[in-house]
Symmetry: C2
Subunit: 230 residues, 2 copies
DNA sequence: GACAAAACAGGACAACCGGTCTGTTTTAGA
DNA sequence: TCTAAAACAGACCGGTTGTCCTGTTTTGTC
């Protein structure tokens, strides 16, 4: 436990190089990873300082309180993660449904490769912090809102192209986000990413027909095995 | 904050009545509520002791560690909550889809009445504890499994009655649980229970047609207002 | 009533947490 | 070069946390 590698080289005590942006980035990297792996409350500033190779004074200079650090992680990292893994791919896809499908599959594949499910960063923090502080809640709700709105916008774009005429953009977006969030929750708890593909399949088949239970690809039940993360 | 009511009447210091089952129940009541409202890590044993009107010795006698208490809450209360609000109603319903619909609506109505969304007890604890401890993870995964299996069983029962021939029980169950879990996650974060009805609607319309956007019931956008809980 | 076990009381404690404080070094601008 | 602000170092502190420990009281059993 604790720090395996001291990030900062302290060979020369008399020589120091100020690097506020780099230090800030290192702290955010470590905090993002630790919040994801252990949660906000279980991440102590001492652990973060050690892992980032940062002293208390430096940390306090950039992030006066733990709450400020978490808010910076949410607004600067979690929001970016949702943008990168969901919003951008969906908007760039040929259609909303194609985009959603590709995201589900990309995430499932990634989880299978790394052999460990850490869950959705947004949902992880949302569950822990939404009821604790209004500022946290507002920041997290904003990310959910942007996420849903992007999907709804894509549906509207599809509709202007003559497709998805019977689809309600808002409701469909809510369903897509909810399905992904819930599937990741289960995948994290069971450490089995297969549920992501199950949900995608059921979602694509209109929550009804799942085609032939025989003949088709046998359902994979791949239970992932641990692997240290942090 | 702290204890508003001291549950235990201490009028007679010399008179004491042993009530192990009652005390255990009181502790579990308080712990369940606090875990739900603040989470596991943010709930201190001191607060729980004060709220339940229990001394440290008594608490330690029944629950040697905080982990043991949480495990008891998960296995004794969270599992029962899922059974009562989901499994039993679905199995008792005329069909799986009817059961799912009634549960969604019942929960949405309940949330609207109490004006505050505390989230799904299972998902709340699952996000915070799944990666922390294997025992936690196993207990939580078991509840998810039972939940999904109950819905899948109901689909299979429907199929033996000639319905749902094109539905894959496992996948459909995964989608239902995921949708609910994710919808509750959003509802908690946005403090808006309307997303539950949005998701139910989208789910029932086969993730596609949401009927007329005009003429039909206007979508409710009811933002709930706070209300102390604990 | 004797007695052992269960049930409970309440204090003690060591570890830890987040925040603050003072002091030093680096850096940018005039 | 001088100077002030920014950047960083590192110790310090009050409060809290979970757990443990030693007693005392109640309760079931013979």
């Amino acid at each position: 436990m604790s720090a395996e590698i001291t990030a900062r080289s302290k060979i020369r005590p008399g020589k120091r190089t100020n690097d506020p942006e780099g230090l800030r980035k290192r702290v955010l990297d470590v905090a993002e990873a630790s919040f994801q792996a252990r949660g906000y409350n279980a991440s102590s500033l001492g652990d973060l300082m050690a892992a980032a190779g940062v002293t208390g004074g430096a940390l306090h200079h950039h992030f006066p309180t733990k709450k400020a650090l978490a808010l910076a992680v949410i607004e600067g990292r979690v929001a970016a993660a949702v943008e990168a893994t969901w919003i951008a791919p969906v908007l760039a896809a040929g259609s909303a449904r194609e985009g959603i499908r590709s995201v589900f599959e990309a995430v499932a594949t990634e989880l299978e490769q790394q052999g460990f499910v850490r869950g959705c960063p947004l949902n992880n923090l949302a569950h822990e912090l939404s009821l604790v502080d209004p500022d946290f809640r507002a920041a997290l709700a904003g990310i959910f809102s942007a996420w849903r709105e992007a999907i709804a916008d894509k549906i509207r774009a599809d509709q202007q192209a003559g497709r998805e005429q019977d689809t309600d953009p808002q409701r469909f977006a809510a369903l897509a986000v909810a399905t992904y969030s819930g599937a990741m929750s289960m995948a994290k708890t069971t450490q089995d990413s297969g549920v992501l593909r199950d949900c995608l399949n059921a979602l694509e088949h209109g929550a009804a027909s799942a085609s032939s239970s025989k003949g088709g690809a046998k359902r994979r039940r791949r239970v992932l095995i641990g692997q240290r993360s942090f």
